[in-house]
């Protein structure tokens, strides 16, 4: 295992210390908890946003704590949902009296832990609502299962609901716009290599030198299909066809695009993917309102990427364009 770490047991703690040292103007850590909150938390009268999940997805989620996005990011062990007590502390620390919205990625563990924390907070009289992000079209949707996973599209929920909260929206309004984003966002990913959970010390799966995995999650779970290496254009064609089959878009519609690197893929390749995404959208008369290219929701050092499309209306456009100032997401 080739990693720049000290002790695999303490990677999360050391990472959070390094993060707080890097960005004291943005964030602080709750003593005794793996919770990062806005340096100025709680913000009086503002709806607070709390998100989180297993670690290993950096800059998600603590990197998005700051003005116009999250109020707290809760960091579980690598690829493991944080426990309710951690989430509960986060809720208490950021509640500014206007209520708290939990942004949860749709994994059984995450959902249960966040819901328990919500119950604990409600028992103390804090108003708490939650939304569940499930943008990954690689997983068949069905009312009989737990449904799709939440992946990179979550960052659009943070951005847009965060902007609404920053603008003074009520808890109900912030939740409503978060749900609008969830309804309109779709993602799908692929990977060239696995990643290594530090505590495990070995790759999450094995894959041939000439193979790739399509429909990857962000926890090293196997994808939905394994194929021979494809060219960038073919990969994007495949991901986009799955996304477009699920997200009804017509000529004249506007979207936001996110090309998200999973950790080990250089920016060069993400831009090459974006070229093809743009060409496909051009061909369908769909307008690109804004594009984000970079690492937003990673899977440790996994080589691979996901494509996310968010269908926009005027409200989403204006909230997406609002300023944000966090360690990992800045917009002027």
């Amino acid at each position: 295992m080739k990693k720049i770490i000290n002790n695999p047991e303490y990677v999360v703690e050391e990472m959070l210390e390094g993060m707080v040292r890097a960005f004291p103007q943005y964030v602080r850590k709750l003593e005794g908890y793996n919770v990062i909150v806005r340096a100025d938390a709680p913000v009086k009268g503002k709806v607070a946003l709390v998100s989180g999940g297993g670690s290993g997805h950096e800059p998600s989620h603590a990197g998005y704590v700051g003005k116009g996005m999250l109020d707290a990011g809760v960091a579980g062990a690598v690829f493991t949902s944080p426990t309710p007590d951690q989430i509960f502390e986060a809720i208490k620390a950021v509640d500014g009296g206007a209520g708290v919205l939990l942004v949860i990625k749709n994994y059984t563990g995450d959902v249960m832990n966040f819901e328990m924390a919500a119950d604990m907070a409600r028992a103390e009289g804090i108003e708490v609502e939650s939304v569940i992000v499930n943008d990954d079209v690689a997983v068949e949707n069905s009312t009989y299962t737990v449904g799709r996973r939440g992946i990179a599209g979550t960052v659009f929920v943070h951005k847009i609901a965060g902007a609404k909260a920053q603008a003074g929206g009520t808890l109900e309004e912030v939740k409503a716009v978060a749900e609008k984003v969830i309804k309109n966002v779709r993602s799908m990913g692929m990977a060239l290599t696995p990643c290594i959970v530090p505590a495990a010390g070995k790759p999450t799966f094995t894959i041939g030198d000439d193979e790739m995995e399509i429909g990857m999650g962000i926890h090293g779970e196997p994808g939905t299909m394994r194929t021979k290496l494809m060219k960038a254009d073919e990969v994007v064609d495949h991901l986009m066809s799955k996304i477009l089959a699920d997200l009804p878009l017509e000529s004249g519609d506007e979207v936001a695009v996110m090309i998200n690197g999973l950790g080990g893929t250089p920016l060069m390749e993400l831009f090459i993917m974006n070229k093809k995404v743009g060409q496909i959208l051009d061909g369908k008369g769909i307008k690109v309102f804004r594009t984000y290219v970079g690492e937003f929701m990673t899977s440790l050092e996994m080589a691979g990427a996901s494509v996310t499309l968010l269908k926009l209306d005027d409200e989403l456009k204006s909230l997406l364009s609002a300023p944000a100032d966090t360690p990992a997401f800045k917009q002027l």
Partner: protein, 211 residues
């Protein structure tokens, strides 16, 4: 039968030992259809539990069970933390204040645990989860209640084992394994397995030592 607080602590310690013994096995089951951490998660949780309850012999059984639940919830994370955590917390509520548990209390404890898991996880039988081991066990306890502790417990363990094995033949509808769809067929569910292990240990503790 009468289980006092000291005995209850011993039983929980025995469960912790067994879970730790089966750490690799449970993790291996999870690697086939999940994220290869169920054994790690459970043994981490029960290690913390043992530390917490060792000196609680002077507390009532309800408090001890609640402490087990809260400790699991706050150390395990993932799916099994809230599920087993809720199960133990509900179990504790069911026998709140009691310093001795009789056979009927035992059944209440198991019923409450099942209720907790179903409340938290919203799973039904047949979805390849903990419920597939626990619900048949509770049903057996109820059905054989009149035949006494020994028979009832033995039937419960048998039923749990059958349920656990049955999970090989069904598609996961809940939890991480559900993302695999058909590919989850043929693999035994790790959560149902850990549940069976706990019930088996409980029966061993209660029957061997004939308390």
């Amino acid at each position: 039968m009468a289980v006092d607080s000291i005995k209850l602590i011993d039983i929980i310690k025995a469960i912790a030992d067994k879970i730790n013994e089966k750490r690799e096995y449970l993790t291996q089951l999870d690697s086939a259809i999940g994220d290869a951490d169920h054994g790690i998660n459970m043994s981490k949780g029960f290690k913390a539990v043992v530390e917490k309850i060792t000196n609680m012999g002077d507390k009532d059984c309800g408090t001890i069970l609640k402490t087990v639940g809260m400790t699991l919830v706050s150390t395990v994370g993932g799916a099994s933390g809230p599920l087993y955590g809720t199960a133990f917390m509900k179990a504790g509520q069911a026998v709140a204040g009691k310093v001795n548990l009789d056979f009927n209390d035992l059944i209440s404890v198991c019923e409450a645990a099942l209720e907790g898991i179903k409340y938290r996880g919203k799973a039904e039988k047949g979805e390849k989860t903990i419920v597939d081991a626990l619900e048949p066990a509770v049903e057996a306890l109820r059905k054989h209640r009149s035949e006494g502790l020994k028979t009832a417990l033995q039937e419960a363990v048998k039923a749990a084992k059958k349920g656990m094995e049955y999970t090989k033949n069904i598609i996961a509808k809940k939890g991480r394994a559900s993302y695999l769809g058909e590919r989850s067929l043929g693999h035994q569910d790790p959560g149902a397995t850990s549940c069976y292990i706990m019930l088996e240990t409980l029966a061993d503790q209660l029957l061997d030592k004939k308390s």
